[in-house]
Symmetry: C2
Subunit: 386 residues, 2 copies
């Protein structure tokens, strides 16, 4: 009897652990890859064939999960339901952090990481729809400052090639630390978000410039480092001046030459995510003659906002700033506490002196791409309305 | 004395095995990655920190090399000088084939592989130069055949946005088995090759359409399989008809609507590499009313060329075919014997009946991207001269 009960219990456990039938391969898998599979409750099953490995884990954002070895050498684990949107993840095989061979790769943290798109039943603003589509164009420009060819991706709106007399406002959009110009193109789904907004007439047709904010002059140290926060210390983001020079001396002139841009400050916006927020604020506020719309998405830099000293004291005269600045947009996700604290600090300081800004809180999302997709979706409609 | 000799020999061996000072990180590394490093003799040192791994190998194309563990858990190996050009490679960590975390990733064999660009001192046709640059544009089109949105990358020549009255010929360029529309964009360096050719006036300005040849109708089996060759068997490439329908019913109409194309057969070319050669020949020869220039780059399909039966017997009447076909280009690398044999078989059969063709042999290169970059560099100048 004991033995039978034991068998029954084992069978039941196996049943509970079984992959539900409704699971589907993630849209971020490479062709033919059946795993990772996402269940209807948004739990995810990962699987890897690794007969000779001694330990395999999957790490999704900050959480590590041990995978279990089956007799045939297949390792798997089902992890709890995930927040919708895009998450970077990796495998750890015998201690080495590597990309899941089943995943498309996405450039972040200065390497090509695995990533998984968790379906979002509540929002479809970044789903491709039957609307006119713009293009994303690879644009090569020579930087006299960095003395090298650089690459940007340029979103042109759907009517760009038919409305040939039109000139368009320009929105410069920056990636996060460890990412590059591919971030807003691939992870960010910029073209789909903009196509949908423009089709609904929620945003005006504009050119979105997705550039790489890392730039160095010959002999300069590489700016490509991830900030390290040691316990008890405070992260300070510093923005080297070179990229601002590239923007003003190389990028904007090249854009204005190659594309049908509007070239005055009333038709130029700049925003960035995370470390890109620091760059966007630094470049934007240092060049008020060139930009009039500003966005900080999940910017840690907001924690350091100081009315007296930030950006040469630009916020001190609120009336003057409000006249010059058509939009100051300060966003963070409610599940990224330090960035939300930073945003709230900046909002509080600005409110005290009467500087106008538009806050946006992305509900339930962390320091991740759904936060930034939502930021873009909220920010773009506010642009070029003056 | 024995002992001293032994130490001296060891020191000498260590000296020989030492990384020469002239080694540089590969251009295909991610930011900050110091390995793999390429030496002046084109030997390559790979390195990976993996203290807990028991066995680490690097596989470059078909060759596996054991890496050696240092005391600190760093594994490394220096492999013999490599042929210039682009090679896919992977690491094998305790039996699991994975991407080198130090490498950019490149979609091939239906996954995101590591890749390494070996410098080429003999040729610079795929190096970026100070010439006018065209764009590569992401183009989304809806396929009524496959009932899904599809993506192509479109190369537009440098004058496309200024020479607004001009219309351009169209060259449809297909990837290999296991690759996708990113192949010719990234690994192929199509825009740089075309920019350089156009700047030298060696090729006429044209639109190059880099599409994904995999297409399936709802309910159809996926065409995304790699052909398996068992010992003693002969590889037969079959091309399912769906992609040809997509080209004729969806892609060409969408291109002609969205871009300033020339739409007659005299201004349309089609070519592909490896399995893409089979697709290009099948789609092109089945639609002689739409295409008049044809290219097979490293096509295994050429081995099956039969004057009587291939493509409905299109080669049987050589005079008629020669009149219709402005170019039949048959290329292979001299270091890919089976494809060279295939090319030579086809050339022989065609010559027997008087069908005109242009052969090109890529000297010293295998079934790899330098072969195909050279093919493009040879093929494009021959286009649209009639």
């Amino acid at each position: 009897m004991n033995r039978l009960l034991c068998v029954a219990l084992l069978a039941c456990a196996a049943c509970l652990a079984q992959t539900p039938d409704d699971a589907k391969p993630a849209s971020t898998n490479v062709a033919n890859a059946q795993y990772p599979r996402i269940h209807s409750d948004l739990s995810v099953t990962f699987q890897l064939k690794a007969p000779d490995a001694r330990k395999v884990q999957v790490q999704v954002v900050g959480d590590k999960y041990d995978m279990t070895r089956a007799e045939d050498g297949t390792w798997s684990v089902t992890i709890p339901p995930q927040v919708p949107g895009f998450h970077y993840y990796t495998l750890i095989i015998d201690g080495v952090q590597v990309v899941d061979p089943a995943s498309e790769t996405f450039y972040g943290s200065f390497w090509e990481s695995s990533g998984i798109e968790i379906p979002n039943n509540a929002e479809d603003f970044y789903q491709i729809k039957d609307v006119p589509h713009g293009e994303i164009r690879q644009f090569r420009y020579y930087s006299t400052v960095a003395q090298t060819w650089r690459r940007a991706f340029i979103y042109t709106p759907p009517d760009y090639d038919t409305n040939l007399k039109a000139r368009y406002p320009v929105f410069l959009l920056l990636h996060g630390g460890g990412e590059d110009e591919r971030g807003w193109f691939i992870q960010g789904k910029t073209d789909i978000i903009m196509d949908n907004l423009i089709a609904e007439k929620k945003a005006v047709p504009m050119i979105v410039v997705i550039d790489n904010m890392y730039a160095q002059k010959p002999g300069e140290n590489s700016p490509m480092t991830m900030p390290v926060v040691t316990p008890g210390s405070v992260l300070r983001i510093t923005v080297p001046p070179t990229y601002g020079e590239v923007v003003m001396k190389d990028l904007l002139p090249a854009l204005d030459k190659h594309y049908r841009t509007l070239t005055d400050r009333d038709h130029r916006a700049i925003a960035g995510l995370s470390m890109g927020a620091a760059y966007a604020m630094q470049v934007g506020m240092s060049n008020l003659a060139a930009f009039s719309y500003f966005g900080s998405f999940s910017g840690t830099v907001m924690r350091d906002l100081n009315i007296e000293t930030s950006y040469g004291g630009v916020f001190k005269n609120a009336a003057e700033f409000n006249k010059k600045c058509h939009l100051l947009f300060i966003a963070a996700g409610t599940a990224e506490q330090s960035r939300m604290d930073a945003a709230n600090h900046a909002r509080g300081e600005l409110a005290k002196v009467g500087v106008k800004f538009v806050p946006f809180d992305s509900n339930g999302t962390a320091h991740e791409w759904l936060t930034w997709r939502r930021d873009l979706h909220q920010f773009a409609p506010l642009l070029f309305r003056n």
